[in-house]
Each structure stands twice: as structure tokens, then as C-alpha cells.
Symmetry: C2
Subunit: 129 residues, 2 copies
DNA sequence: GCCGAAATGAAAACGGTTGTCAAAATCCGC
DNA sequence: GCGGATTTTGACAACCGTTTTCATTTCGGC
């Protein structure tokens, strides 16, 4: 039965950025869904396993998820103030990762890249404040 | 007083790869050090703030630390089987991160890059097994 | 030695995540 | 449709790394 899993996926699709499991759970409850936190966690894990969602860890160790239309590989540029997220492709980085890996005899290379910064509006706000 | 902090730093230096806070704590106790877990955490945070140690999050949300000779920026190539770690420099990646950030109007750009793979001996072992 | 400030550490609190287990839903053969 | 096996669900508790609390200890200056 994937009804609940689909519901979780839908909720994630409606969201713009990354959402934590607890966020997703809270939102689903708000919309009247009868679902438990446990099931949300399980659904998210299943979706992540199946490559239907991106997962990443925030600096404080929370897992955040994001619906991902295609399985295409990309990275994220995240504003450290407002959390705004931009997807960025980095073929150069992909190649670099492969290269440094194979240079050292590593195989089956994967990599995680997260770029953090302060976005234009937030840095403007910071200067103003 | 940085006595404890130095002790933590020393312990980390004696270790080869990344160690968790609890690891460091356990090891220090083994060696007879009278130190509390709280202090280890505080020391590690202070060292990380000062750039004397690298910090990264494992996939299960644990923070791991590693003594870092210089404050120079580098990344890590980690074997997903044995945990062996190689420090790699990636000027190309640094420039790429800066570029994608500024392209989108972001400032104060930082980034995290971790490359995972299976190291030569582990992949050999896998084929053998 | 004495005082205030900073550091320390034991224990409790915290928070996200995972496990437990009984109840409910679903599937299957009939 | 029906009974039983199987899977899914979710409330709750356990878990675990981390952080906070707060009383105690230590340090620096006098």
C-alpha cells in the first residue's frame, strides 16, 4: 500500500524548499490527513531510498527532504538566513569528484556538495538592520 | 584555561581519522584523564570555531572531528567501508562555489564538500569476499 | 588567603529519530 | 462475501547524541 507514501510525496511536492519530517507531518495534519509521525518517517525513508526525494542534513543534524522531479543529480545553494534554496548543476564538480576519487584508487564515488551563503535580500536586510 | 582543550586536541591528533565526541571522551577516560563529556563537547566546539579541527556530520547525524594541522581549507575523500580518509584540495571547487553563489547574488559563501567512495583495498576485499 | 570570574562536570533536559507492538487494513484463496 | 495470514499503521516509549543547568572547583589578581 503506497497511499500514505503518495500522500507524503504529494505534500512534499507542494512545498517549495526542503522540509523536515516533522514539518511534513505537521502540514499533513493541518490539512486533515490522518497519519502518524512514524509513518511519515517511514514514507520519507522509502521515497529517499527510491530516489524520489532528495535528503540532506542540516547543520544541526536534522534530516530535510525535498521532492525531486527527476533523478537528475544536482546540488543546492542555500541561504543561511532565510533558507531559500537554488538548485545548481555543477558538471565541473562532478568531474572533479570522480577525478580525486580515482586518483586515490577509490571507486563507486559519490559526493555531497552544499553551498551556503547569504542571499541578496538577506544581506540587504542585514545592512539595513 | 585551555588545559583541557589542549588535551582534547592532543587526543584528536593521536587519532588517524575522524572521531566522534563520545569516542574522544571514551579514549581520554581510558588514558586516565579526568574530564567530563560536557567539557569534551565544549572543547571540540571551541576548536572547531577556531579552525583547529575539521568537523563533519556522518550520515546518521553524529558530529565527527579531526585534528587539522593547518587552518587551510580542504575537503575529504572518505572510504565508505573502512572510513579511511584522504585530505584533498580542490581549488576548482572553491572557485566553482564562489561562482555559483555570486551568480545568484549570494555573499559570504561557504561550502561543504565530501566525497565518498570505496577505497582500493576495500573494493578488492569486496571482490574477494 | 580572599574575591569575582571563568571553567568544569554530573545529571537532567532536549529533540529528532527509531523501535515496539497491538490494532486495523489489505490481500489471498476459497 | 469470508476467514486467516500478512502487511501497514500509528501511539507511545526508547534511544542517542547533544545541549543546558547549576552547583562546585579552579584560576587570576590583589
Amino acid at each position: 500500500m503506497t497511499t500514505r507514501r503518495d500522500a507524503v510525496h504529494d505534500t512534499l511536492r507542494k512545498s517549495e524548499g526542503f522540509r523536515s519530517a516533522q514539518d511534513v507531518y505537521a502540514e499533513m495534519r493541518l490539512h486533515g490527513a490522518k497519519i502518524g509521525l512514524t509513518t511519515v518517517y517511514r514514507a520519507l525513508q522509502a521515497l529517499a531510498d527510491g530516489g524520489q526525494v532528495d535528503v540532506l542534513r542540516t547543520d544541526d543534524g536534522e534530516s530535510v527532504y525535498r521532492a525531486c522531479a527527476t533523478g537528475s543529480h544536482h546540488h543546492h545553494l542555500v541561504c543561511r538566513r532565510c533558507g531559500r534554496t537554488v538548485e545548481v548543476a555543477g558538471p565541473a564538480v562532478e568531474r572533479w569528484a570522480e577525478m580525486v576519487g580515482s586518483e586515490h584508487g577509490f571507486t563507486e564515488i559519490t559526493h555531497t556538495v552544499e553551498v551556503f551563503g547569504t542571499c541578496a535580500s538577506c544581506s540587504a536586510a542585514a545592512k539595513a538592520g
